[in-house]
Point group: C2
């Protein structure tokens, strides 16, 4: 696939929020970007779009910040992809041809579509909560040293 920086930061932030925040323990942008070691204003922009899409929540003012109600419905990873990069990388021709179809396939069409389908499937089944679990159990990390 090759994730954009926006998607990388979005995923790390959302996983972090999933473990560390709640309606009663909001985190401000400085806390988040410090934790996941991402550029603060850029991360703010990204989180804003996630809020607009109702993937995460936020409140303004003192004591405000971003949070995820982790008891809320599971968030498929593909939702974060849709919010940041969109799905065009999956749909276009892997060799950049204008048309991508079974009737006029490029030489990598079959492999590419098969992979592309499997990956979308995986991203749809896998939730942010699944990824967050590994982190909370100390098996994986979203932070640099």
């Amino acid at each position: 696939m090759m994730f954009s920086k926006s998607l990388e930061y979005a995923l790390r932030a959302v996983i972090y929020l999933c473990n560390e925040s709640s309606e009663h323990a909001k985190l401000n942008i400085n806390q988040i970007s410090t934790a996941i070691d991402s550029p603060e204003p850029f991360t703010a922009k990204i989180l804003q779009t996630l809020v607009r899409r109702n993937i995460i929540a936020s409140t303004k003012g003192p004591g405000g910040g971003f949070f995820i109600d982790s008891k809320a419905k599971p968030i498929p990873v593909i939702d974060i992809v849709d919010a940041t990069d969109g799905r065009s990388a999956f749909e276009r021709c892997g060799l950049g041809l204008k048309e991508c179809s079974e009737s006029r396939p490029c030489p990598i069409h079959n492999e590419f579509k098969s992979y592309s389908y499997k990956l979308q499937n995986l991203l749809t089944k896998k939730t942010v909560q699944d990824l967050a679990r590994g982190v909370s159990e100390g098996k994986s990390f979203v932070t640099n040293f």
Copy 2:
């Protein structure tokens, strides 16, 4: 994966050359970029780097142009990747962490590495000639309508 434009044009050009050129039937940059519908000067740059890497050959002067001796040794697709995009996308952390290792994996490390390994393997085994064969048999295409 997500190929760069350079890699897309490189692959289409090399596949085209594989079928349509030989030491005695060289193609100039105008013929190539017209055929594969790619920006001519940009494609020229890309082919220059492939020549420098001895993936394709070229001669200057009237009657000159680019060519592949198709009876020459098979060209693994990974060679084109190495020449254009390099392999860093395979090696870095999929979530952009500074370190990527078994001892400090991010939440997608295992899936990412497994996919990354399989893809590199596929690109190593699959040759440009394999891809060109489909095109010469009319089963696939490197050109737009």
